[in-house]
Symmetry: C2
Subunit: 87 residues, 2 copies
């Protein structure tokens, strides 16, 4: 499935969360990652982020869809990364 | 169509961008908004954010899908807002 992940981590934990997410997904903007995940990888991502986060302070949103082609992507301003070029 | 909007604005412009986005979409997490938009509203959102942003510093990503039910939403940690309850 295709995932868009957006996190909001405290400053002390954000570098660790970023490094962790990059193992599974492509970084596309400050705190935004995208990519294909299997069910098992999704569980690993959730488990890993739970172990990094302070659950009363940090938050993560993950949007999932069966296929990437079900959504369009538009961007304004600085283009920090191009998911299609990073795979 | 259903939109997920994520921005990364400089500190001086973020409050203005947030206030603007709230006119069209529901705030769901720091710098993340969701909601239904018509084609005309999407154009207004893009135009408004372009007028607020510094294009060499700030960035906006908008993910669009025809129907909200095409995607699943998962969240970890602090739940800042519940899109379904805000409509």
């Amino acid at each position: 499935m295709y995932a868009i992940l957006v996190y909001d981590f405290g400053e002390k934990r954000v570098a660790k969360a970023c490094k962790f997410c990059r193992q599974y997904l492509n970084w596309v903007q400050n705190s935004v990652f995208e990519g294909e995940l299997t069910e098992g990888q999704l569980r690993s991502v959730e488990k890993g982020l739970r172990s990094i986060m302070h659950p009363s302070e940090d938050s993560v949103l993950i949007y999932l869809m069966r296929e990437e082609r079900w959504m369009d992507r538009r961007s304004l301003g600085v283009r920090k990364a191009e998911p299609g070029f990073m795979i």
